[in-house]
């Protein structure tokens, strides 16, 4: 089972992100379960959503306290929320930022993750450029596809087209694809010297 935890703030599409991920996994014939952190819905308040992906029926209903991947939609949460609590030592971290990751002051648990398991993505900028709204969720999902390989970009695109009207869907697909490309390029550049 692959478990994802997404941290963000109300209004950033945190819950939608988990749902889209689940639909994309379902598109691949896998079992998926997405659910929010069940809080009162308030714009700007910290929000958590979860997504489980597995090849078998998912019966458990407990929250994800040992994720395989953490997506951080809003880095300002770093000092308020235990973003990386329970994160698998072989897990993934994806952060919405346009800054180099080492300038963010992420905690030590991120530093010990395997090479190529941590990425930053300027998702808000990509969303503004492609969708016209500062909602970083979809670009981050594109980046997630590149980082983890857990869900292919094509499945995410189909999930987006299933959810949104054609025009909005294509803008989101473009944003996700751009993020996918950025992370893929970065990973390749990172690997190149040792390859």
């Amino acid at each position: 089972m692959f478990q994802v935890r997404i941290h963000g703030r109300g209004g950033q599409g945190v819950v939608t992100a988990a749902e889209l991920l689940a639909v994309a996994a379902f598109d691949q014939g896998r079992h998926a379960q997405a659910f929010p952190s069940f809080g009162s819905e308030r714009t700007g308040a910290p929000v958590v959503s979860y997504c489980r992906i597995d090849d078998h029926e998912i019966r458990t209903r407990e929250p994800i306290d040992a994720p395989d991947a953490v997506i951080v939609q809003d880095v300002t949460l770093v000092h308020h929320v235990d973003l990386f609590g329970g994160l698998s030592p072989s897990g993934y971290v994806l952060v919405n930022t346009s800054l180099p990751l080492d300038e963010l002051g992420l905690d030590g648990r991120v530093g010990v993750l395997p090479d190529g398991h941590v990425a930053g993505c300027p998702a808000t900028e990509l969303a503004l450029a492609h969708v016209g709204r500062a909602v970083p969720n979809v670009p981050l999902l594109g980046a997630f596809c590149a980082l983890t390989g857990e869900v292919p970009l094509g499945a995410l695109a189909r999930a987006l087209r299933h959810r949104f009207t054609p025009e909005v869907a294509e803008r989101n697909v473009a944003a996700a694809s751009a993020a996918f490309g950025l992370v893929t390029d970065h990973e390749e550049a990172h690997r190149a010297p040792t390859a």
């Binding site: 819950v15 749902e19 689940a22 379902f26 997405a34 069940f38 019966r59 209903r61």
Partner: protein
Amino acid sequence: MLQQLEGSRAVAETVARCRPEVVCAYPISPQTHIIEAIGAMVKDGRLAPCEFINVESEYAAMSVSIGASAAGARTYTATASQGLLFMIEAVYNAAGLGLPVVMTLANRAIGAPINIWNDHSDAMAVRDAGWIQLFAETNQEAADLHVQAFRLAEALSVPVMVCMDGFILTHAVEAVDLIDQAVVDSFLPPYEPRQVLDPDDPVSIGAMVGPEAFEEVRYLAHLRQLDALELIPSVAEEFAALTGRASGGLVHPYRLEDAETVIVAMGSVLGTIKDAVDARREAGERVGVLGVAAFRPFPVAAVSDALSGARRVIVVEKAFSLGMGGVLATDVATASPASGPDLATVVAGLGGRPITRRDVEGILERSARGTLPRLSFLNLDEDVVARERARMAASRRSGPFAENVLRDVAAGGAHR
């Protein structure tokens, strides 16, 4: 067609296929997504000639439902928690009048202290109202139960409440095979009321009944519940034959074949418990699960049969009766076979506190060691409780205890 859907959406789509004629809505978390979706379908004209009524309270929601059902319309509403309590007089009334309203209950805790998260306190509060109460384990079952609910309600002239865990199911996105319209139409005939407000054949409904007949009238309502014990499994079987899905019925036994220890529970926590039982089975322990799918009427015989081989029975339930203990556990005790298994109650998941597989395995371990008390509260922080008791002993004006506990927990970190 199998789709990845939010639970609320799955329920709304299924209710729509049941061709409701009147739907009442008053919003309360976590029921909102269901009525929003149905409201949109009515606005689109997809459910025509269905009437969708935005009422001013849950009390009105059930009251409008009563009027609509008495006038012969297939009627649906949904609520949760405080909303159910606010309509409780009408909840009893709908059952007393024998009106087959179907209602989704998105199970949520009851305040004070106010809490929007899941437990089963709301459903337990109307346990004696005369409604059939069905509990869903998954969103697939929640959706399917609504089709069966209309069938049961209208066959018996008894209202049916489909209980699904608030947020845990209502807001979870998972695969659901939405039932085809043609299948619903073949399974659910048009509603033929036993009594109806009709100017061409006027009757008085809701007359006063004195001591000379009240007991007989109430006993007849009890008999309809007993009839439901027969009908619920047969409707579930018919549904399974049509859809291939084992939704509904009275109980859901899991790995009971040689089980010495059986956990009894209701609702979505059964999935987590099954995972825990599988793990303990792999370790060689003879453990099983009994899911209670129909809480009212309570399937005494089915529970008794299912527990006949058990030496230890552990009821894990998301509600309790203050000053007494388990609610489901009391019924399970009544239904326990003469062999007299040891019965323990674990109150868990109150106000949305997670119940994990590790928790369930811990319960099984304590049970096996003989250290599980007759009544316990899962992951209760006894230090926090003791400190508040001490504050209360130290000062008459110790203040609001919920707020004191919140401050204490905030100062000491997480509650677990």
